[in-house]
């Protein structure tokens, strides 16, 4: 058996951002659920309170979801003020870490080199091929083992450029002072209660991404993947070497 070939895969900025964001996401979801419990009803439009019609409420959710939410709140017992303290401090960490990562990743060409989606890659035939490869637990193209596959690229692009920015801007749209300063936020999302609903839906999307991401890390080989995110070095699969 030959020694695995270690290739340099992740730049230091990518690794630092990844772990900062991983911890921040964990705190944002836990404290976000804590805040949600203060008024677990969602509305479309500019206003919405108990007497107004909600598109969903906590009591319409399956029991296992409600039980699960109770397990992950920060703090563990209901405390709106402390949930908000965690949420609003780490919101700054999330937003500024993303901004810094975006600037550095343009300069070090991580975005252009690794995340650029090419037209040929999103042809239905190519996408179907990558889905079959995933189902067969083959995540790396033997010709370019260090590159992201197209499903990976699309999910990272969606997370970095759509979901997290959407979380940040819908979050700002819930701030009464930001609504005064930036009224376009309300026009963009169709009102504060719509922004709050989109914030919740995007957070659910991010949670799904995290679950899929962790599952794929496990399936792709946990030590190799975690090491590559800590040291930057990643072992090429043997069939690719």
């Amino acid at each position: 058996m030959t020694e695995p070939v270690l290739i340099k895969r992740h730049a230091v900025a990518t690794r630092v951002w990844h772990w900062v964001t991983a911890i921040t996401m964990f705190i944002m979801i836990g404290s976000g659920v804590g805040i949600l419990k203060a008024h677990p009803r969602f509305y479309w439009g500019r206003y919405g309170a108990n007497f107004d019609s909600a598109w969903t409420t906590l009591d319409q959710w399956p029991n296992w979801v409600v039980t699960g939410l109770n397990l992950i709140t920060i703090p563990a017992s209901y405390n709106l003020a402390i949930s908000r303290r965690w949420h609003l401090l780490f919101a700054l960490v999330l937003a500024f870490a993303l901004l810094g990562f975006m600037v550095v990743s343009l300069i070090n060409r991580h975005f252009q080199r690794d995340l650029r989606v090419r037209a040929a890659e999103i042809a239905p035939r190519e996408l179907a091929h990558d889905v079959r490869e995933h189902l067969a637990l083959r995540f790396h193209d033997p010709r370019k083992p260090g590159a992201y596959n197209i499903l990976q690229k699309l999910s990272y692009v969606a997370t970095i450029f759509v979901l997290i920015p959407l979380m940040i801007f819908t979050g700002l749209a819930m701030s009464p002072n930001m609504d005064a300063a930036w009224p376009w936020l309300l026009d963009l999302f169709g009102g504060r209660q719509s922004a709050r609903s989109i914030h919740f839906i995007a957070a659910s999307g991010l949670t799904l991404f995290i679950v899929a991401h962790l599952a794929l890390v496990i399936l792709a080989g946990v030590w190799n993947e975690v090491r590559s995110m800590i040291t930057g070095r990643w072992a090429q699969p043997e069939d690719a070497a």
């Binding site: 919405g48 107004d52 009464p176 309300l186 504060r192």
Partner: protein, 251 residues
């Protein structure tokens, strides 16, 4: 080293659980608590630095108003003094403006209603997450403070209310940026009717770029102060003092 998937998933669950309880343990430490609470200063500083201090809160059309404007917090102060005022239709009510001012005022409701008025249809955002849109009317707080002659040492405006919340006198405070904002008014009318008891009769504060808990109801006295020390527990309001709410409620 061999890691089974079962061990990994179990380990991840224990790790997540440890982190969760860790979050609660961490903030019992005074330094960690101070860091966590610094978020308020950071958000306030950023918002004040990056946004226009005079920017107006969005105003809405009559068609966009909530069909029902819900009330919460204290819905009736119920103290003997307040109940007597209600029975008398607030004929004996006097709004006192004092503290660091040159000409303390004591205003009756008719006097408040005869001053230059501002009416605005705005959105009330409760810290819990709900919003309601209603029309408020009353004199600008800034005009009252100018009439009273604010002294240069004044930095905060404190509102003393008629209600006790869980036995503690309710109060709130804002700084001069918000106090002199054109939409900061002392409302005596909601949706073109005289304010009812549930919504803060006879007079409540509207400070439109802050969350609902800053909009003190049942305002009895307004004092200009140099510092919030020595008032209540010193954090600037009932909720700030007793349950760790942020004093800055613009976010």
């Amino acid at each position: 080293m061999i890691l089974t998937r079962r061990a990994l998933v179990g380990g991840a669950a224990i790790g997540a659980g440890a982190l969760l309880t860790g979050c609660d343990k961490v903030i019992q430490h005074p330094t960690a608590r101070r860091i966590l609470f610094m978020g308020e200063e950071m958000n306030r500083g950023l918002q004040r630095a990056l946004t226009d201090r005079a920017a107006l809160a969005p105003e809405f059309s009559p068609a966009q108003m909530s069909p029902i404007f819900r009330s919460n917090g204290t819905r009736d102060p119920g103290t003997p003094g307040y109940t007597a005022m209600v029975a008398n239709n607030f004929a004996d009510y006097r709004l006192k403006i004092g503290g660091l001012v040159d000409r303390p005022l004591s205003l009756t409701l008719p006097q408040i209603r005869q001053m230059p008025q501002r009416a605005q249809i705005t959105r009330h955002d409760c810290v819990e997450g709900w919003s309601a849109i209603g029309k408020w009317q009353g004199p600008k707080l800034g005009a009252l403070l100018t009439a009273a002659g604010l002294r240069p040492q004044a930095r905060y405006i404190v509102f003393t209310c008629a209600d006790l919340y869980r036995g503690t006198p309710y109060y709130e405070s804002i700084d001069l940026v918000d106090a002199f904002h054109p939409q900061t008014i002392l409302a005596w009318a909601l949706n073109d009717r005289v304010l009812d008891v549930a919504h803060g009769a006879p007079v409540r504060l509207r400070v439109e770029r802050q969350l609902g808990y800053k909009h003190a109801k049942y305002v009895m006295a307004i004092d200009a102060v140099a510092s919030l020390d020595g008032i209540g527990k010193g954090k600037g309001g009932y909720w700030e003092d007793n349950v760790d709410y942020d004093w800055y409620a613009g976010i």
